[in-house]
Protein backbone atom coordinates (compact mmCIF):
# COMPACT_ATOMS: atom_id res chain seq x y z
CA UNK A 1 0.00 0.00 0.00
CA UNK A 2 2.71 2.42 1.09
CA UNK A 3 4.91 1.39 -1.84
CA UNK A 4 2.06 2.04 -4.26
CA UNK A 5 1.44 5.44 -2.69
CA UNK A 6 5.10 6.32 -3.07
CA UNK A 7 5.12 5.12 -6.66
CA UNK A 8 2.10 7.31 -7.38
CA UNK A 9 3.63 10.31 -5.69
CA UNK A 10 7.08 10.08 -7.28
CA UNK A 11 5.76 8.76 -10.59
CA UNK A 12 3.58 11.86 -11.02
CA UNK A 13 6.43 14.12 -9.99
CA UNK A 14 8.88 12.63 -12.52
CA UNK A 15 6.29 12.59 -15.24
CA UNK A 16 5.62 16.33 -14.74
CA UNK A 17 9.34 17.09 -14.69
CA UNK A 18 10.04 14.98 -17.75
CA UNK A 19 7.15 16.52 -19.65
CA UNK A 20 8.34 20.07 -18.92
CA UNK A 21 11.92 19.12 -19.79
CA UNK A 22 10.93 17.81 -23.18
CA UNK A 23 8.61 20.62 -24.06
CA UNK A 24 10.22 23.66 -22.43
CA UNK A 25 13.67 23.18 -20.99
CA UNK A 26 15.37 21.37 -23.90
CA UNK A 27 14.15 23.81 -26.60
CA UNK A 28 15.13 26.89 -24.55
CA UNK A 29 18.40 25.21 -23.55
CA UNK A 30 19.16 24.52 -27.21
CA UNK A 31 18.70 28.20 -28.02
CA UNK A 32 21.24 29.25 -25.42
CA UNK A 33 23.62 26.54 -26.59
CA UNK A 34 23.37 27.60 -30.23
CA UNK A 35 23.64 31.28 -29.34
CA UNK A 36 27.07 30.83 -27.75
CA UNK A 37 28.24 28.13 -30.15
CA UNK A 38 30.85 30.45 -31.67
CA UNK A 39 31.82 32.16 -28.43
CA UNK A 40 30.49 35.06 -26.46
CA UNK A 41 32.02 37.84 -28.59
CA UNK A 42 30.45 36.46 -31.78
CA UNK A 43 27.09 36.37 -30.02
CA UNK A 44 27.57 39.89 -28.67
CA UNK A 45 28.56 41.46 -31.98
CA UNK A 46 25.70 39.70 -33.78
CA UNK A 47 23.07 41.51 -31.70
CA UNK A 48 24.76 44.93 -31.44
CA UNK A 49 24.47 45.88 -35.10
CA UNK A 50 22.55 49.16 -35.63
CA UNK A 51 19.53 47.30 -37.03
CA UNK A 52 19.46 44.88 -34.13
CA UNK A 53 19.77 47.62 -31.52
CA UNK A 54 17.04 49.61 -33.23
CA UNK A 55 14.81 46.53 -33.22
CA UNK A 56 15.32 45.98 -29.50
CA UNK A 57 14.69 49.62 -28.66
CA UNK A 58 11.53 49.68 -30.79
CA UNK A 59 10.26 46.48 -29.16
CA UNK A 60 10.80 47.88 -25.67
CA UNK A 61 9.12 51.20 -26.56
CA UNK A 62 6.08 49.46 -28.01
CA UNK A 63 5.87 47.07 -25.06
CA UNK A 64 6.12 49.98 -22.59
CA UNK A 65 3.28 51.90 -24.26
CA UNK A 66 1.13 48.75 -24.47
CA UNK A 67 1.78 47.95 -20.81
CA UNK A 68 0.80 51.45 -19.64
CA UNK A 69 -2.32 51.51 -21.83
CA UNK A 70 -3.43 48.01 -20.84
CA UNK A 71 -2.75 48.59 -17.15
CA UNK A 72 -4.90 51.73 -17.02
CA UNK A 73 -7.64 50.16 -19.11
CA UNK A 74 -7.32 46.82 -17.33
CA UNK A 75 -7.70 48.20 -13.81
CA UNK A 76 -10.59 50.44 -14.85
CA UNK A 77 -12.32 47.63 -16.68
CA UNK A 78 -11.85 45.20 -13.77
CA UNK A 79 -13.40 47.75 -11.40
CA UNK A 80 -16.32 48.14 -13.78
CA UNK A 81 -16.82 44.37 -14.02
CA UNK A 82 -16.59 43.69 -10.29
CA UNK A 83 -17.91 46.81 -8.58
CA UNK A 84 -20.86 47.81 -10.72
CA UNK A 85 -23.88 46.32 -12.35
CA UNK A 86 -25.03 47.35 -15.79
CA UNK A 87 -26.69 45.93 -18.84
CA UNK A 88 -24.21 44.32 -21.19
CA UNK A 89 -21.77 43.41 -18.45
CA UNK A 90 -21.68 39.78 -19.58
CA UNK A 91 -21.02 40.95 -23.12
CA UNK A 92 -18.13 43.18 -22.02
CA UNK A 93 -16.72 40.28 -20.03
CA UNK A 94 -16.80 38.07 -23.11
CA UNK A 95 -15.34 40.70 -25.45
CA UNK A 96 -12.29 41.14 -23.23
CA UNK A 97 -11.20 37.57 -23.95
CA UNK A 98 -11.46 38.07 -27.71
CA UNK A 99 -7.67 38.58 -28.14
CA UNK A 100 -7.11 35.12 -26.62
CA UNK A 101 -9.52 33.61 -29.12
CA UNK A 102 -8.33 35.32 -32.29
CA UNK A 103 -5.07 34.50 -34.03
CA UNK A 104 -2.65 37.47 -34.02
CA UNK A 105 -2.37 37.31 -37.80
CA UNK A 106 -6.12 37.87 -38.03
CA UNK A 107 -5.74 40.85 -35.68
CA UNK A 108 -3.10 42.28 -38.01
CA UNK A 109 -5.32 41.77 -41.04
CA UNK A 110 -8.26 43.41 -39.28
CA UNK A 111 -6.16 46.49 -38.51
CA UNK A 112 -5.00 46.50 -42.11
CA UNK A 113 -8.63 46.63 -43.25
CA UNK A 114 -9.56 49.44 -40.86
CA UNK A 115 -6.50 51.64 -41.18
CA UNK A 116 -5.55 50.89 -44.75
CA UNK A 117 -5.82 53.49 -47.51
CA UNK A 118 -9.44 52.49 -48.19
CA UNK A 119 -10.35 51.53 -44.63
CA UNK A 120 -12.90 53.36 -42.44
CA UNK A 121 -10.33 55.14 -40.26
CA UNK A 122 -7.33 54.90 -42.56
CA UNK A 123 -8.36 57.56 -45.04
CA UNK A 124 -9.39 59.90 -42.21
CA UNK A 125 -5.96 59.67 -40.54
CA UNK A 126 -4.08 59.82 -43.84
CA UNK A 127 -5.97 62.98 -44.87
CA UNK A 128 -4.68 64.58 -41.69
CA UNK A 129 -1.17 63.38 -42.36
CA UNK A 130 -1.10 60.69 -39.69
CA UNK A 131 0.45 57.42 -40.75
CA UNK A 132 -0.98 54.49 -38.76
CA UNK A 133 -0.04 51.44 -40.79
CA UNK A 134 3.60 50.56 -41.45
CA UNK A 135 4.51 52.89 -38.59
CA UNK A 136 4.72 52.93 -34.83
CA UNK A 137 1.00 53.71 -34.11
CA UNK A 138 -0.18 50.62 -35.98
CA UNK A 139 2.34 48.40 -34.21
CA UNK A 140 1.31 49.81 -30.84
CA UNK A 141 -2.38 49.22 -31.66
CA UNK A 142 -1.67 45.62 -32.65
CA UNK A 143 0.37 45.00 -29.49
CA UNK A 144 -2.28 46.55 -27.23
CA UNK A 145 -4.91 44.39 -28.88
CA UNK A 146 -3.13 41.08 -28.41
CA UNK A 147 -2.06 41.76 -24.80
CA UNK A 148 -5.27 43.42 -23.57
CA UNK A 149 -6.83 40.71 -21.36
CA UNK A 150 -3.92 40.00 -18.99
CA UNK A 151 -4.30 42.84 -16.47
CA UNK A 152 -8.11 42.54 -16.40
CA UNK A 153 -7.96 38.79 -15.87
CA UNK A 154 -5.38 39.09 -13.07
CA UNK A 155 -7.15 41.94 -11.26
CA UNK A 156 -10.77 40.72 -11.39
CA UNK A 157 -10.30 37.76 -9.00
CA UNK A 158 -8.28 39.91 -6.58
CA UNK A 159 -11.04 42.54 -6.50
CA UNK A 160 -13.58 39.79 -5.81
CA UNK A 161 -11.44 38.43 -3.03
CA UNK A 162 -10.82 41.70 -1.16
CA UNK A 163 -14.53 42.57 -1.31
CA UNK A 164 -15.81 46.12 -1.03
CA UNK A 165 -15.94 46.58 2.74
CA UNK A 166 -12.55 48.29 2.94
CA UNK A 167 -13.72 50.72 0.27
CA UNK A 168 -16.96 51.37 2.15
CA UNK A 169 -15.02 51.90 5.37
CA UNK A 170 -12.85 54.48 3.59
CA UNK A 171 -15.99 56.21 2.33
CA UNK A 172 -17.53 56.48 5.78
CA UNK A 173 -14.21 57.96 6.96
CA UNK A 174 -14.62 60.78 4.47
CA UNK A 175 -12.65 59.56 1.45
CA UNK A 176 -13.98 60.42 -1.99
CA UNK A 177 -13.86 58.00 -4.93
CA UNK A 178 -10.39 59.02 -6.06
CA UNK A 179 -8.88 58.93 -2.56
CA UNK A 180 -10.46 55.54 -1.94
CA UNK A 181 -9.01 54.20 -5.19
CA UNK A 182 -5.48 55.48 -4.61
CA UNK A 183 -5.18 54.75 -0.94
CA UNK A 184 -7.26 51.59 -0.49
CA UNK A 185 -8.16 49.78 -3.70
CA UNK A 186 -4.92 50.14 -5.67
CA UNK A 187 -2.63 49.06 -2.79
CA UNK A 188 -4.91 46.10 -2.15
CA UNK A 189 -4.78 44.88 -5.77
CA UNK A 190 -1.13 45.82 -6.44
CA UNK A 191 0.19 42.26 -6.83
CA UNK A 192 -2.62 41.33 -9.17
CA UNK A 193 -1.73 44.40 -11.25
CA UNK A 194 1.94 43.40 -10.99
CA UNK A 195 1.37 39.93 -12.42
CA UNK A 196 -0.81 41.42 -15.13
CA UNK A 197 2.02 43.79 -16.05
CA UNK A 198 4.57 40.96 -16.15
CA UNK A 199 2.37 38.84 -18.44
CA UNK A 200 1.53 41.83 -20.65
CA UNK A 201 5.22 42.68 -20.95
CA UNK A 202 6.20 39.14 -21.88
CA UNK A 203 3.41 38.87 -24.43
CA UNK A 204 4.12 42.31 -25.94
CA UNK A 205 7.88 41.66 -26.24
CA UNK A 206 7.32 38.40 -28.06
CA UNK A 207 4.51 39.45 -30.41
CA UNK A 208 5.18 38.39 -33.98
CA UNK A 209 2.10 37.77 -36.09
CA UNK A 210 0.00 40.90 -35.68
CA UNK A 211 3.00 43.22 -35.74
CA UNK A 212 4.43 41.43 -38.79
CA UNK A 213 1.25 42.22 -40.74
CA UNK A 214 0.85 45.91 -39.78
CA UNK A 215 4.52 46.95 -39.61
CA UNK A 216 5.58 46.43 -43.20
CA UNK A 217 8.81 45.00 -41.72
CA UNK A 218 11.11 47.80 -42.85
CA UNK A 219 14.47 46.94 -41.35
CA UNK A 220 15.95 49.72 -39.21
CA UNK A 221 12.50 51.41 -39.11
CA UNK A 222 9.52 49.21 -38.29
CA UNK A 223 11.29 46.02 -37.46
CA UNK A 224 10.81 44.75 -33.89
CA UNK A 225 13.12 42.24 -32.25
CA UNK A 226 11.02 39.14 -33.06
CA UNK A 227 10.77 40.30 -36.70
CA UNK A 228 14.53 40.89 -36.75
CA UNK A 229 15.08 37.36 -35.39
CA UNK A 230 12.91 35.89 -38.11
CA UNK A 231 14.70 37.81 -40.90
CA UNK A 232 18.20 37.00 -39.63
CA UNK A 233 17.20 33.37 -39.28
CA UNK A 234 16.08 33.37 -42.91
CA UNK A 235 19.46 34.82 -43.90
CA UNK A 236 21.31 32.06 -42.05
CA UNK A 237 22.61 34.39 -39.28
CA UNK A 238 21.68 31.75 -36.71
CA UNK A 239 23.95 33.10 -33.98
CA UNK A 240 22.25 36.49 -34.15
CA UNK A 241 18.79 34.95 -34.27
CA UNK A 242 19.37 32.71 -31.27
CA UNK A 243 21.15 35.34 -29.21
CA UNK A 244 18.39 37.89 -29.82
CA UNK A 245 15.77 35.31 -28.82
CA UNK A 246 17.67 34.72 -25.62
CA UNK A 247 17.85 38.45 -24.88
CA UNK A 248 14.07 38.77 -25.37
CA UNK A 249 13.48 35.91 -22.95
CA UNK A 250 15.85 37.47 -20.42
CA UNK A 251 14.05 40.83 -20.54
CA UNK A 252 10.73 39.11 -19.82
CA UNK A 253 12.23 37.06 -17.00
CA UNK A 254 13.87 40.20 -15.57
CA UNK A 255 10.45 41.91 -15.22
CA UNK A 256 9.13 38.87 -13.35
CA UNK A 257 12.17 38.80 -11.04
CA UNK A 258 11.92 42.55 -10.46
CA UNK A 259 8.31 42.19 -9.32
CA UNK A 260 9.08 39.23 -7.10
CA UNK A 261 11.91 41.09 -5.42
CA UNK A 262 9.64 44.10 -4.75
CA UNK A 263 7.15 41.71 -3.23
CA UNK A 264 9.76 40.02 -1.05
CA UNK A 265 11.19 43.34 0.09
CA UNK A 266 7.74 44.45 1.16
CA UNK A 267 6.96 41.21 2.95
CA UNK A 268 10.08 41.46 5.13
Amino acid sequence: MAARDRLGKYGLRYFALGYLTMLLLIPVGMISYRAFEHGFSAAWSSVTTPDALHAFLLTIEIAAIAVVANTIFGVGCALLLVRSNFRGKALLNAIIDLPFAISPVVVGLALLLLYGRTGWFGSMFLDNGVQILFAMPGMVLATIFISLPFVVREVVPVLHEIGDEQEQAAQTLGANWWQTFWRITLPAIRWGVGYGVVLTTARALGEFGAVAVVSGRISGQTETAPLWVWREFGQFNTTGAYTASLVLALIAIATLLAMNSFKRKEAS
Binding site: A169, Q171, A175, R183
Partner: protein
Protein backbone atom coordinates in the same frame (compact mmCIF):
# COMPACT_ATOMS: atom_id res chain seq x y z
CA UNK B 1 -27.00 63.68 17.89
CA UNK B 2 -30.41 62.15 17.36
CA UNK B 3 -31.26 59.95 14.41
CA UNK B 4 -34.72 59.71 12.90
CA UNK B 5 -35.70 57.36 10.11
CA UNK B 6 -39.10 57.92 8.54
CA UNK B 7 -40.90 55.30 6.45
CA UNK B 8 -37.77 53.82 4.92
CA UNK B 9 -38.37 51.27 2.17
CA UNK B 10 -35.71 49.23 0.43
CA UNK B 11 -36.14 46.38 -1.98
CA UNK B 12 -33.46 44.09 -3.47
CA UNK B 13 -35.09 42.47 -6.48
CA UNK B 14 -38.18 40.74 -5.10
CA UNK B 15 -36.94 40.78 -1.54
CA UNK B 16 -38.33 43.58 0.64
CA UNK B 17 -35.57 44.35 3.12
CA UNK B 18 -37.25 47.39 4.67
CA UNK B 19 -41.02 47.75 4.52
CA UNK B 20 -41.69 51.28 5.74
CA UNK B 21 -39.46 51.41 8.81
CA UNK B 22 -39.53 54.37 11.21
CA UNK B 23 -37.29 54.66 14.24
CA UNK B 24 -36.14 57.40 16.58
CA UNK B 25 -32.81 57.22 18.32
CA UNK B 26 -32.32 59.87 21.02
CA UNK B 27 -29.12 61.86 21.33
CA UNK B 28 -26.36 60.06 23.23
CA UNK B 29 -28.21 56.76 23.50
CA UNK B 30 -26.94 53.26 22.92
CA UNK B 31 -29.50 51.46 20.76
CA UNK B 32 -29.59 47.90 19.49
CA UNK B 33 -31.29 46.82 16.25
CA UNK B 34 -32.26 43.26 17.11
CA UNK B 35 -33.74 40.68 14.80
CA UNK B 36 -33.18 37.38 13.00
CA UNK B 37 -31.19 37.30 9.76
CA UNK B 38 -33.16 38.77 6.89
CA UNK B 39 -35.13 41.05 9.22
CA UNK B 40 -33.67 44.17 7.60
CA UNK B 41 -31.62 45.36 10.55
CA UNK B 42 -28.32 45.57 8.67
CA UNK B 43 -29.97 47.26 5.72
CA UNK B 44 -31.47 49.86 8.05
CA UNK B 45 -28.03 50.53 9.54
CA UNK B 46 -26.50 50.87 6.08
CA UNK B 47 -29.29 53.24 5.05
CA UNK B 48 -28.48 55.41 8.08
CA UNK B 49 -24.78 55.34 7.13
CA UNK B 50 -25.51 56.26 3.51
CA UNK B 51 -23.98 53.02 2.23
CA UNK B 52 -27.40 52.04 0.91
CA UNK B 53 -29.93 54.40 -0.63
CA UNK B 54 -33.54 53.82 0.45
CA UNK B 55 -36.11 53.49 -2.35
CA UNK B 56 -38.27 55.91 -0.37
CA UNK B 57 -38.37 57.45 3.09
CA UNK B 58 -36.08 59.87 4.88
CA UNK B 59 -33.11 59.83 7.22
CA UNK B 60 -32.57 62.75 9.61
CA UNK B 61 -29.31 63.11 11.50
CA UNK B 62 -29.29 65.72 14.28
CA UNK B 63 -32.26 67.51 12.80
CA UNK B 64 -30.93 67.82 9.25
CA UNK B 65 -32.19 65.80 6.30
CA UNK B 66 -29.33 63.44 5.40
CA UNK B 67 -31.22 61.29 2.88
CA UNK B 68 -29.28 62.60 -0.12
CA UNK B 69 -25.98 63.21 1.66
CA UNK B 70 -23.31 60.73 0.49
CA UNK B 71 -21.68 58.43 3.07
CA UNK B 72 -18.40 60.34 3.00
CA UNK B 73 -20.09 63.52 4.19
CA UNK B 74 -22.51 62.09 6.75
CA UNK B 75 -20.07 62.15 9.63
CA UNK B 76 -20.92 58.65 10.78
CA UNK B 77 -18.46 56.12 12.10
CA UNK B 78 -19.14 52.63 10.77
CA UNK B 79 -17.77 49.37 12.15
CA UNK B 80 -18.13 46.22 10.03
CA UNK B 81 -18.66 42.66 11.22
CA UNK B 82 -15.47 41.50 9.50
CA UNK B 83 -13.52 44.59 10.59
CA UNK B 84 -12.78 45.93 7.06
CA UNK B 85 -9.23 46.59 8.26
CA UNK B 86 -6.96 48.28 5.71
CA UNK B 87 -4.64 45.30 5.38
CA UNK B 88 -1.72 47.14 3.81
CA UNK B 89 -1.57 49.74 6.59
CA UNK B 90 -0.26 49.57 10.13
CA UNK B 91 -2.64 49.96 13.08
CA UNK B 92 -1.52 53.60 13.43
CA UNK B 93 -2.19 54.37 9.77
CA UNK B 94 -5.54 52.62 9.90
CA UNK B 95 -6.62 54.80 12.81
CA UNK B 96 -5.13 57.92 11.22
CA UNK B 97 -6.87 57.37 7.87
CA UNK B 98 -9.88 59.61 8.42
CA UNK B 99 -7.74 62.41 9.87
CA UNK B 100 -5.21 62.27 7.04
CA UNK B 101 -8.07 62.44 4.52
CA UNK B 102 -9.11 65.63 6.33
CA UNK B 103 -5.52 66.90 5.94
CA UNK B 104 -5.01 67.59 9.64
CA UNK B 105 -1.50 68.58 10.73
CA UNK B 106 0.86 65.62 11.29
CA UNK B 107 1.42 66.45 14.94
CA UNK B 108 -2.27 66.65 15.72
CA UNK B 109 -2.87 63.31 13.98
CA UNK B 110 -0.07 61.62 15.93
CA UNK B 111 -1.44 62.87 19.24
CA UNK B 112 -4.99 61.85 18.47
CA UNK B 113 -3.89 58.40 17.31
CA UNK B 114 -1.88 57.87 20.53
CA UNK B 115 -4.93 58.86 22.53
CA UNK B 116 -7.18 56.42 20.64
CA UNK B 117 -4.67 53.55 20.77
CA UNK B 118 -4.72 53.70 24.55
CA UNK B 119 -8.51 54.19 24.61
CA UNK B 120 -8.94 50.85 22.82
CA UNK B 121 -6.10 49.18 24.76
CA UNK B 122 -3.81 48.60 21.79
CA UNK B 123 -0.74 50.21 23.34
CA UNK B 124 2.40 48.77 21.75
CA UNK B 125 0.53 47.46 18.70
CA UNK B 126 0.71 50.67 16.65
CA UNK B 127 3.32 49.47 14.16
CA UNK B 128 1.72 46.07 13.58
CA UNK B 129 -0.31 45.11 10.55
CA UNK B 130 -3.91 43.86 10.91
CA UNK B 131 -2.82 40.33 9.95
CA UNK B 132 -0.70 40.28 13.13
CA UNK B 133 -3.69 41.01 15.38
CA UNK B 134 -6.37 38.78 16.87
CA UNK B 135 -10.00 39.23 15.87
CA UNK B 136 -10.81 41.17 19.03
CA UNK B 137 -7.83 43.47 18.53
CA UNK B 138 -8.77 44.10 14.91
CA UNK B 139 -12.28 45.05 15.92
CA UNK B 140 -10.97 47.45 18.58
CA UNK B 141 -8.70 48.98 15.94
CA UNK B 142 -11.68 49.37 13.62
CA UNK B 143 -13.57 51.08 16.42
CA UNK B 144 -10.69 53.48 17.10
CA UNK B 145 -10.51 54.23 13.37
CA UNK B 146 -14.23 55.08 13.33
CA UNK B 147 -13.94 57.23 16.47
CA UNK B 148 -10.86 59.12 15.21
CA UNK B 149 -12.89 61.54 13.11
CA UNK B 150 -15.23 62.31 16.02
CA UNK B 151 -18.35 61.07 14.26
CA UNK B 152 -21.77 62.42 15.11
CA UNK B 153 -23.03 58.87 15.35
CA UNK B 154 -21.37 55.49 15.65
CA UNK B 155 -22.89 52.55 13.75
CA UNK B 156 -21.78 48.97 14.37
CA UNK B 157 -22.91 46.09 12.14
CA UNK B 158 -22.81 42.83 14.15
CA UNK B 159 -19.52 44.04 15.63
CA UNK B 160 -18.84 40.94 17.71
CA UNK B 161 -20.43 38.40 15.36
CA UNK B 162 -17.15 36.97 14.07
CA UNK B 163 -15.48 36.63 17.49
CA UNK B 164 -15.10 33.78 19.96
CA UNK B 165 -17.69 33.57 22.74
CA UNK B 166 -15.24 34.71 25.43
CA UNK B 167 -13.85 37.68 23.52
CA UNK B 168 -17.39 38.58 22.62
CA UNK B 169 -18.55 38.81 26.23
CA UNK B 170 -15.51 40.90 27.12
CA UNK B 171 -15.98 43.33 24.22
CA UNK B 172 -19.69 43.78 25.00
CA UNK B 173 -18.91 45.06 28.46
CA UNK B 174 -16.10 47.14 27.08
CA UNK B 175 -18.38 48.74 24.46
CA UNK B 176 -20.88 49.59 27.20
CA UNK B 177 -18.14 51.32 29.25
CA UNK B 178 -16.70 53.03 26.20
CA UNK B 179 -20.11 54.48 25.46
CA UNK B 180 -20.35 55.77 29.01
CA UNK B 181 -17.02 57.57 28.47
CA UNK B 182 -17.36 58.82 24.91
CA UNK B 183 -21.13 59.31 24.84
CA UNK B 184 -21.54 59.32 21.09
CA UNK B 185 -24.99 58.28 19.81
CA UNK B 186 -24.49 54.62 19.00
CA UNK B 187 -26.55 52.05 17.09
CA UNK B 188 -25.46 48.45 16.84
CA UNK B 189 -26.96 45.56 14.97
CA UNK B 190 -27.19 42.12 16.53
CA UNK B 191 -29.16 38.90 16.22
CA UNK B 192 -28.22 37.93 19.78
CA UNK B 193 -30.94 38.97 22.24
CA UNK B 194 -28.64 38.48 25.21
CA UNK B 195 -26.11 40.85 23.67
CA UNK B 196 -28.80 43.45 23.03
CA UNK B 197 -30.19 43.14 26.58
CA UNK B 198 -26.75 43.40 28.11
CA UNK B 199 -25.37 46.33 26.15
CA UNK B 200 -28.20 48.52 24.89
CA UNK B 201 -30.26 51.17 26.64
CA UNK B 202 -32.93 50.90 23.95
CA UNK B 203 -33.78 47.97 21.69
CA UNK B 204 -35.56 48.08 18.34
CA UNK B 205 -36.86 44.60 17.53
CA UNK B 206 -37.14 43.99 13.79
CA UNK B 207 -38.77 41.19 11.84
CA UNK B 208 -39.39 40.76 8.10
CA UNK B 209 -38.56 44.34 7.23
CA UNK B 210 -40.61 46.10 9.89
CA UNK B 211 -40.27 47.20 13.50
CA UNK B 212 -42.05 44.89 15.94
CA UNK B 213 -41.48 46.91 19.08
CA UNK B 214 -39.15 49.52 20.53
CA UNK B 215 -38.32 49.92 24.18
CA UNK B 216 -35.96 49.46 27.07
CA UNK B 217 -34.63 45.90 27.50
CA UNK B 218 -36.65 45.19 30.63
CA UNK B 219 -39.79 46.67 29.11
CA UNK B 220 -39.52 44.39 26.07
CA UNK B 221 -39.00 41.35 28.25
CA UNK B 222 -41.86 42.11 30.62
CA UNK B 223 -44.35 43.66 28.21
CA UNK B 224 -43.89 42.24 24.73
CA UNK B 225 -46.51 43.59 22.34
CA UNK B 226 -46.36 40.76 19.83
CA UNK B 227 -45.86 37.01 19.79
CA UNK B 228 -42.67 37.57 17.86
CA UNK B 229 -41.13 39.77 20.54
CA UNK B 230 -42.28 37.39 23.26
CA UNK B 231 -40.58 34.44 21.61
CA UNK B 232 -37.51 36.28 20.29
CA UNK B 233 -36.55 37.99 23.53
CA UNK B 234 -36.04 35.44 26.24
CA UNK B 235 -36.97 31.76 26.28
CA UNK B 236 -40.60 30.72 26.04
CA UNK B 237 -42.99 27.74 26.03
CA UNK B 238 -45.86 28.18 23.61
CA UNK B 239 -49.23 26.45 24.04
CA UNK B 240 -51.56 27.80 21.39
CA UNK B 241 -52.13 31.49 22.13
CA UNK B 242 -50.61 31.12 25.59
CA UNK B 243 -46.91 31.87 26.16
CA UNK B 244 -45.15 30.87 29.36
CA UNK B 245 -41.58 31.74 30.34
CA UNK B 246 -39.73 28.60 31.51
CA UNK B 247 -38.94 30.29 34.83
CA UNK B 248 -42.67 30.86 35.36
CA UNK B 249 -43.37 27.12 35.38
CA UNK B 250 -43.77 25.72 38.86
CA UNK B 251 -43.15 22.01 39.53
CA UNK B 252 -45.06 20.27 42.36
CA UNK B 253 -44.89 16.75 43.74
CA UNK B 254 -48.64 16.57 44.45
CA UNK B 255 -51.68 17.47 42.33
CA UNK B 256 -52.95 21.04 42.77
CA UNK B 257 -55.54 23.32 41.14
CA UNK B 258 -54.46 24.44 37.62
CA UNK B 259 -51.56 21.95 37.70
CA UNK B 260 -51.16 19.36 34.98
CA UNK B 261 -49.48 16.00 35.14
CA UNK B 262 -46.11 15.66 33.39
CA UNK B 263 -43.16 13.34 33.23
CA UNK B 264 -39.57 14.52 33.78
CA UNK B 265 -37.74 13.60 30.57
CA UNK B 266 -34.32 15.02 31.20
CA UNK B 267 -32.56 17.25 33.72
CA UNK B 268 -29.84 19.55 32.38
CA UNK B 269 -27.46 21.21 34.82
CA UNK B 270 -25.83 24.42 33.60
CA UNK B 271 -24.09 25.50 36.80
CA UNK B 272 -26.31 28.06 38.46
CA UNK B 273 -29.27 27.20 36.26
CA UNK B 274 -31.08 23.88 35.86
CA UNK B 275 -33.38 23.03 32.97
CA UNK B 276 -36.06 20.38 33.37
CA UNK B 277 -37.53 18.96 30.17
CA UNK B 278 -41.10 17.78 30.62
CA UNK B 279 -43.43 15.56 28.61
CA UNK B 280 -47.11 16.41 29.09
CA UNK B 281 -49.93 13.86 29.02
CA UNK B 282 -50.99 15.02 25.54
CA UNK B 283 -47.46 14.58 24.16
CA UNK B 284 -46.52 18.28 24.33
CA UNK B 285 -42.98 19.11 25.38
CA UNK B 286 -42.29 21.99 27.80
CA UNK B 287 -39.27 23.00 29.79
CA UNK B 288 -38.90 24.66 33.14
CA UNK B 289 -36.02 26.78 34.33
CA UNK B 290 -34.96 27.09 37.97
CA UNK B 291 -31.88 27.60 40.06
CA UNK B 292 -29.73 24.63 40.95
CA UNK B 293 -30.80 24.95 44.60
CA UNK B 294 -34.50 24.88 43.73
CA UNK B 295 -33.93 21.80 41.59
CA UNK B 296 -32.01 20.08 44.40
CA UNK B 297 -34.83 20.76 46.86
CA UNK B 298 -37.32 19.08 44.48
CA UNK B 299 -35.10 15.97 44.29
CA UNK B 300 -36.10 15.27 40.69
CA UNK B 301 -35.15 12.15 38.78
CA UNK B 302 -35.60 11.18 35.14
CA UNK B 303 -38.96 9.51 34.47
CA UNK B 304 -40.58 10.94 37.59
CA UNK B 305 -44.19 12.19 37.48
CA UNK B 306 -44.66 15.82 38.58
CA UNK B 307 -47.44 18.44 38.45
CA UNK B 308 -46.81 21.58 36.46
CA UNK B 309 -48.51 24.93 36.74
CA UNK B 310 -47.63 28.33 35.33
CA UNK B 311 -47.23 31.21 37.78
CA UNK B 312 -48.09 33.64 35.03
CA UNK B 313 -48.65 33.49 31.31
CA UNK B 314 -48.98 35.87 28.40
CA UNK B 315 -51.96 35.47 26.07
CA UNK B 316 -51.88 36.74 22.48
CA UNK B 317 -55.37 36.38 21.08
CA UNK B 318 -56.08 37.39 17.51
CA UNK B 319 -57.60 40.91 17.36
CA UNK B 320 -56.94 41.54 21.03
CA UNK B 321 -54.38 43.32 23.15
CA UNK B 322 -51.90 40.98 24.75
CA UNK B 323 -52.78 40.33 28.37
CA UNK B 324 -50.92 38.86 31.31
CA UNK B 325 -52.61 36.25 33.43
CA UNK B 326 -51.42 35.81 36.97
CA UNK B 327 -52.40 32.23 37.63
CA UNK B 328 -50.88 31.03 40.81
CA UNK B 329 -48.66 32.84 43.26
CA UNK B 330 -45.81 30.86 44.58
CA UNK B 331 -45.80 30.33 48.30
Amino acid sequence: MSIIVEQARKQFGDFVALDGVSIEVPDGSLTALLGPSGSGKSTLLRVIAGLEKPDSGRVMISGGDATDVPAQKRGVGFVFQHYAAFKHMTVRNNIAFGLSIRKRPKKEIAERVDELISLVHLDGFGERYPSQLSGGQRQRMALARALAVEPKVLLLDEPFGALDANVRKELRLWLRRLHDDVHVTTIFVTHDQEEAMEVAGQIVVMNEGHVEQTGEPNDLYEHPQTEFVMSFIGPVNQRGAVFIRPHDLELLHVPAPEAEEAMVERIVNLGFETRVELLMANGEQLWAQMTRDEADLLELTDGQIVYVRPRRAKVFEPNGDPRTEEIASAA
